[in-house]
Symmetry: C2
């Protein structure tokens, strides 16, 4: 596997309304998109920085993955997403290397990306996403 770059860093926040102005100041750039991802029970807000992005994640359901994360660990960095070419092959390779998968087959994420998560249990505590822009 050879990801080309970090596609985004996901950050779990309690409120987009509070954190968007903070990140606009910190990054000196406006939030360029807000999108609800119903499947993941989150509302997302995106900022571009260099060749990567910051993705703020506000839970829309306390039982969703980000709601549970915040309850357990508080607000903070939630995951890293690596951009790959050929996500199916990358998942296959991860599996062959003994990496546990959350998603055996890719699914749709924010911004029309094709995504899959690796399990933090076999990634030394880091929730890791692979994603591909199939355009």
């Amino acid at each position: 596997m050879k990801p080309t770059h970090i596609e985004h860093i996901g950050i779990a926040v309690k409120s987009l309304d509070e954190t968007i102005p903070y990140y606009e100041k910190l990054l000196g750039t406006a939030c360029y998109a807000i999108e609800e991802v119903k499947d993941q029970k989150v509302k997302t807000a995106f900022f571009k920085i260099g060749d990567t992005k910051i993705e703020l994640l506000e839970s829309t359901d306390p039982e969703g993955p980000v709601g549970k994360f915040i309850e357990k660990k508080g607000e903070g960095i939630h995951h890293i997403a690596f951009a790959v070419k050929g996500i199916e092959g990358a998942l296959e390779e991860a599996k062959e290397n003994g990496i546990r998968l959350i998603d055996e087959t890719p699914r749709k994420g924010a911004e029309g990306m094709t995504i899959a998560f690796l399990h933090p249990k076999s990634s030394y505590g880091v929730l890791t996403e692979l994603c591909e822009n199939k355009g």
Copy 2:
């Protein structure tokens, strides 16, 4: 403030020996530097990906910041570092915006960078580093 890119993502790990081979497979690239930062009580390992880096952090002292982080939260993503031009001015601006600083004045970090941390209390749970390569 307008950081140019994410300089690195810091990840707290229990053992570099165990996690370096994992990241070499995941990123398809070799660890290019190992460095001890005595000041921070860590041994670091670096990987390049796109215009950013992954910095693995192994604690050399249970009482150090990474040792305490792992004891409290387990292994996982520890901080995000943004590359800025003019770190002193960026810190001044952060302060004017009500952001609490860990480092009032910049100090030396890994790879000869000039660095300063913002406090996660005013950064919505995200330990945030500013850094500048002053050459």
